[in-house]
Amino acid sequence: MQQTRSVEIGTGLFVLLGMGALFFLTTQTTGGDDFSAEETYSVEARFENIGSLRNRAPVAMSGVTIGRVTNIRFDSVTLEAVVQFVIDSQFDQIPDDSDASILTSGILGSQYIGLQAGGSDTNLEDGSELLFTQSAIVLENLIGKFLVNAGSKDDD
């Protein structure tokens, strides 16, 4: 009987420790999912080029995450990328002429959407579309442009 008892205790400790580890991983390593709003509204924006923007990328305003990209698709008529994202409903005072640009966090970091407040009296609401957008800066294009400029300067 003593033997079964120690087996039971050992098993119990093992399972508890395993469960604890799972709990730790799910809460402590993902808890910083800094956007977890319950009520959101959805907004769209069109970009010429989204670079490497991904689903679930953050949407930030003044550096604070207020939303998340939910859908990225390609419009075959206008030949543009259509990015759909949600914003926490508590931030409902954002002017609808705000400007959305695709930015990079750090030099090699992932890309996110940054919102710059506009001056309009009407605010964004569910289904709005942002009209002023700025595409991602693609490093190759930038270097290409720089080289062309440098080249044309030499010709002068």
Partner: protein, 257 residues
């Protein structure tokens, strides 16, 4: 020349036959699993102890050192980009998605898989399985299925323990030894690691648990019932599990990305 060809042909046929037999065996084990899980849970618990609790020490020690190595390696590479703060992310992704499940499965094969295979092989060699048959007790649900289920239950828990201890190992090296900022370390992890990453890790650990336990049980049950045969079965358990785990890991990662 023809004899070489014939050898190759025979070996291939034998390989396919063994593979087919393994599939049929797996189906048999799986068919009894729900019943055993419901009616003989006591047997399963005992095996969770044998495979899980007894592997805990080796898992924890290895996890600590793997995490520590990740910290050192990550630091020396990331420091070149001034990105030491991302060391936690580097280690967390590595541990949760890849190293945790894979290394745990390999250690499991070495510690618990060999124990299962040799135990079952010895039961066969000493006629214990035949004796059960003669007592009208089917050894598949009585002996094999509880061990298989015990392995499946133990594996994800072991993987979680391994990853957690590994992260602490990285923390020790990065924060305590190399003075990376502790806030940046954990915050970067929390921002980047997703629930999906953890789900991937759990999914992998379940798949590896099924594979490792099934292979161990199969090798033990099909061991040649002699001392030499049992020894060979344990060796094959480790080799085949290692191959299966790495192949599955590649396939799952390819599908998940």
């Amino acid at each position: 020349m023809t004899s070489v060809f014939r050898d190759v042909f025979n070996t291939s046929v034998e390989f396919v036959r063994t593979f087919g037999a393994f599939q049929l065996f797996s189906l048999r084990v799986l068919r009894y699993s729900p019943g055993v899980l419901l009616s003989r849970f006591d047997l399963v618990v005992k095996q969770v102890f044998n495979t899980g609790a007894l592997s805990l020490v080796i898992i924890m020690v290895c996890g600590l050192f793997v995490g520590g190595v990740l910290g050192l390696q990550g630091y020396s590479n990331l420091a070149r980009f001034n990105a030491e703060d991302s060391i936690g992310v580097f280690a967390a992704f590595g541990l949760i998605k890849e190293l945790g499940p894979v290394i745990t499965a390999l250690l499991f094969a070495g510690r618990a898989g060999t124990a299962l295979a040799s135990e079952i092989g010895l039961m066969k060699a000493t006629d214990q399985l035949s004796a059960m048959e003669m007592m009208a007790v089917n050894p598949v649900p009585r002996v094999l299925v509880p061990r298989f289920l015990g392995g499946i239950i133990a594996m994800p828990l072991l993987v979680a323990v391994f990853s957690m201890i590994g992260l602490f190992g990285t923390h020790l090296v990065a924060v305590e030894l190399l003075s990376v900022d502790v806030g940046a370390f954990w915050q970067q992890i929390q921002i980047t690691v997703d629930m999906d990453d953890i789900k991937e890790g759990i999914f992998k650990s379940l798949v590896f648990g099924v594979a490792a336990s099934m292979i161990a049980v199969w090798e033990g049950y099909n061991a040649v019932p002699t001392a030499e045969g049992v020894g060979r079965a344990t060796t094959r358990t480790v080799v085949i599990t290692a191959i299966a785990v790495l192949v599955f890991d590649f396939m799952i990662t390819a599908v998940m990305l």
